[in-house]
């Protein structure tokens, strides 16, 4: 089985967000980056499938200049090789242009499975897996929490409101991973050492055979803002026999929500 896992290097979830100069995005200059947590489930799933069925796991990233470290982490987890589409315009693209770039590499690789995390922390769009599937003319299932796969078909469970949808289909396919699919392994010291010898092939956009039009974003961010600060609340302390009735009174008479 040839499995491509698309991986994004994203700001850590603990960061306090600052708006960048020009107010069109978030200031990422001083921020520590990690492999997107949802992508770790995808990498882990690929490794487990390779352990069962054999084959190779290729991790694929698209970024300006910082993503090498993230790909190296995935190689240390056990992926066989990595490809990085490196171009400044990847930093200012949208889901469509990112999907177009990733799809063009996948088209050349002809994998049996393309795996993603369900969304990237930060932009939180969750669109790229579906965009890539459409551009590759492959079926897709998103937010997978359980997966069974063999060489020709898959059975996946995905979370919907109040239930799980069982989706069955054929390979090749594009799937995105949701938390709960598996427990991602930590890179072992052995894995980290082995990763130093594995290749990260850098590709430029020119080598992908895409026109400037293919890669133009279809949406733009006009402005990024912080949420308005909440005014200080009414915090009660004292005896339960007084604070609880007072809270209920406030919710009923002031906020009018119960």
């Amino acid at each position: 089985m040839k499995i491509v896992v698309c991986v994004k290097y994203v700001p850590d979830t603990a960061i306090k967000v600052k708006i960048a100069a020009g107010s069109r995005g978030v200031d990422l200059s001083d921020v520590s980056l990690v492999v997107n947590p949802y992508d770790e489930y995808a990498v882990e799933e690929a490794l487990q499938i390779r352990e069962r069925l054999g084959g190779e796991v290729i991790v694929l990233g698209a970024a300006g200049d910082k993503a090498n470290a993230g790909l190296r982490t995935c190689l240390a987890m056990g992926a066989d090789s990595a490809i990085l589409i490196q171009d400044e315009c990847m930093e200012s693209g949208d889901s469509f242009s990112t999907g177009a770039a990733l799809a063009s590499v996948c088209r050349q690789l002809r994998p049996d499975l393309v795996l993603f995390g369900k969304q990237a922390i930060g932009v939180d769009n969750g669109q790229v897996p579906a965009v890539v599937a459409e551009l590759l003319d492959l079926p897709h299932v998103s937010a997978v929490v359980k997966l069974e796969v063999d060489s020709r078909k898959f059975r996946a469970e995905r979370e919907i409101e109040g239930a799980r949808e069982v989706m069955e289909g054929s390979l090749p396919a594009v799937l995105s991973a949701q938390k709960g699919l598996n427990n991602p392994r930590y890179a072992s010291l052995k894995g980290i050492m082995a990763a130093k010898k594995k290749t990260i092939e850098v590709r430029t956009l020119n080598s992908l055979g895409l026109s400037a039009d293919d890669l133009k974003p279809r949406t733009s961010i006009e402005e990024a803002t912080l949420p308005p600060p909440r005014p200080p609340g009414k915090i009660l302390s004292g005896d339960v026999s007084e604070t609880v009735p007072e809270l209920v009174r406030l919710l009923h008479e002031e906020a009018k929500i119960i």
Binding site: L138, P139, A224, I235, V244, I258
Partner: protein, 327 residues
């Protein structure tokens, strides 16, 4: 010339999702200023109901096809994109539910246009251009998004856009749509529904959410929080600490790597208020915090709170709420 607003209607177990009606109502408000129609895109084996018209649809295109009897991203993408090609709307909307978030990006890609996912605001600017606002960094920031070409596609976060007052005097024409779809075009589809981790009221759609965190000290204390949730008619949530400790299924997790909720009322019991948790619930209309630590960060975002021991406060609160509701 692109005209009108097309709204994808999601139906589950025979009823139209409230979030889809919210999208119709939002479309109606925008269409009124454009003086253009709101058209519902409805997939189902029974005719679309009058509720679509009551919330603002002028026409409903009814797509019925044996291959659409079960959900498939490819089948639903085909239905919506063929309707777009026929009707040439300037805007395509849908609810940002699991289904909408799954296949509408595929439809947008097929149409070679962009999509703004999970929007909390949508309005017309410069006369007739759609502009949306959507949370990024799990709501720690917001992005104002514009679109390069028609149709502008957006999914709207459930529970944020007003349903408005239904006008039962409104009616809409139903038009049958012949879909061009062959079996080999569907290579993944839903074959069954299975039970989930136990959530009775879906968190992301709930009006009230009551969550428990590390302060509960163990799984055996979750019933205290569950009872308050039930008394308030709400859904049960949890912090990551409680989920990672194995006290409750991760279906209930609220936060940056869990669910993002926007209820009218969010009650946080024994939750300190880490940035990642706040990211999942900060767009709640009212936040109530119960924590024995007066310095807990959650009190900085709470509208109301009680500093106290949740093991006495929460049951007392449940009782007081029940008393109020029985009056």
């Amino acid at each position: 010339m692109a005209q009108g607003i097309l709204v994808f209607i999601e139906e589950r177990q025979g009823s139209v999702k409230k979030a889809s009606l919210e999208a119709v109502a939002a479309a109606r408000r925008m269409a009124d200023s454009l003086q253009e129609p709101v058209i519902a895109a409805y997939i189902g084996s029974q005719a679309p109901g009058a509720v679509l018209a009551h919330h603002g649809a002028d026409r409903a295109y009814w797509v019925r096809h044996p291959l659409l009897e079960s959900y498939s991203p490819e089948g639903y993408t085909a239905a919506v994109t063929q309707l777009v090609r026929l009707l040439q709307p300037r805007i395509l909307l849908g609810a940002a539910t699991a289904m909408g978030r799954d296949f509408l990006p595929r439809a947008a890609a097929r149409l070679r246009v962009g999509l703004a996912q999970d929007c909390t605001a949508a309005r017309l600017v410069d006369g007739a251009q759609l502009e949306c606002v959507r949370p990024i960094y799990a709501g720690k920031a917001f992005a104002r998004v514009r679109f390069a070409a028609a149709p502008a596609v957006a999914t709207l976060r459930p529970n944020v856009f007003s349903l408005g007052t239904p006008d039962t005097a409104r009616s809409a024409e139903t038009v049958d749509f012949q879909l061009d779809l062959a079996p080999e075009q569907i290579r993944a589809r839903c074959t069954a529904l299975a039970a989930s981790g136990g959530a009775k009221v879906e968190l992301t759609e709930a009006e009230v959410v009551v969550s428990g965190g590390r302060g509960l000290k163990g799984p055996e204390s979750f019933p205290i929080v569950r009872e308050l949730a039930e008394a308030l008619g709400g859904a049960l949530g949890a912090s990551r600490a409680a989920v990672d400790a194995g006290w409750i299924d991760h279906q209930h997790q609220v936060g940056q790597t869990g669910k993002t909720v926007s209820p009218t009322l969010y009650v946080a019991c024994g939750i300190s208020g880490a940035i990642q948790h706040l990211a999942g619930m900060s767009s709640s209309k009212y936040i109530v915090a119960i924590n024995k630590d007066p310095e807990a960060p959650i009190f900085k975002v709470a509208d109301y709170g009680i500093v106290g021991d949740l093991f006495t406060v929460v049951p007392a609160l449940t009782q007081e709420v029940r008393k109020l509701k029985s009056q």
